[in-house]
Amino acid sequence: MKSASISVLHYKGKLSFERIGILLNDLKNKKETYQINPVLYKKLLTLMIEILENVLKYSDHFEVFVMHNPDYQPEFELNLNDAGFVLTSRNPVRDKDKNAISHRIDKINTSEVEELKKFYRDTITNGIFTEKGGAGLGFIEMAKITTNSIVYSFQPIMKGFSYFELTLHINHLGEENHG
């Protein structure tokens, strides 16, 4: 039986630096209601920043598309279920970027802890920034924090674009999974 899920945060619409600040503030305001301990709060905060800043960084790729297809605005959800918190983002991506995204996430998902640490060290020291000035560390950070696989999918929506869904799971206490 599927466990009941409570919506903690939900946003669908244009994303901006200011909007991310508002969403982070919303999380802060929900800390007590959902009894989020300080360690877990810090992890959720970092995950939200990495997810949302990543979507924002590439939003110029789909701004015009979304203007004509408002159903595919970026979306972010934070839900709580019996197992813990679930963070989900959805946004359009260009089909030509799908392989690079899949390759990166698959590499992270199949890495052992030590490999992931090495990947992180190599990436943080390589001095390379993405075309949008990103560090290329976002997905690695997500995997390090959650210690769970990054779940993702692409739903074809129109020629040239797919709707990308990214889901992260983190347990109630923010503790790491072992084994």
Binding site: V39, K42, T46, R121, I124, A135
Partner: protein, 133 residues
């Protein structure tokens, strides 16, 4: 050299680089809208210090031991790449004979912040002092 003082904002850390005391501190939240632009100032200041020591080796005897404190509440992954650049300059200073100590602060129970420090220290092959506060 002039000191470099930048007050904190909701999105950027405070920078307190005081050459007379050797106390250099980066403190607070770091998720600047333009991360490259924010870190340009602190990096330039540190590179200038490195150049001063390289141009005039005896300068290292005129400055006190440097103590760099990272007192971060949280930082995004973009910021971490610039913090690595800061650490590289500190490593260069150490190699030129300047005494540099690096303190990495983390809040009680904040394992992630401690881990981040350990990863960075390992990445640049420097020793950090870890201080819980």
């Amino acid at each position: 050299m002039d000191n470099l003082i930048i007050p904190a904002t909701d999105f950027t850390p405070s920078v307190n680089f005081v050459i007379e005391s050797g106390q250099l501190e980066l403190s607070g939240v770091s998720r600047p809208e333009d991360v490259a632009s924010f870190y340009e100032g602190p990096l330039e200041w540190l590179c200038k210090l490195e150049e001063s020591v390289q141009d005039k080796p005896e300068y290292k005897y005129e400055i006190p031991e440097l103590r760099f404190s990272f007192k971060m509440t949280y930082f995004n992954s973009g910021s971490s790449k610039y913090m690595i650049q800061i650490l590289r300059v500190l490593r260069n200073l150490i190699r030129t004979g300047v005494e540099v100590k690096i303190d990495w602060y983390f809040e009680e129970g904040d394992d992630k912040m401690q881990d981040d420090g350990e990863d960075m220290a390992e990445a640049v092959e420097l020793n950090f002092n870890y201080i819980e506060f």
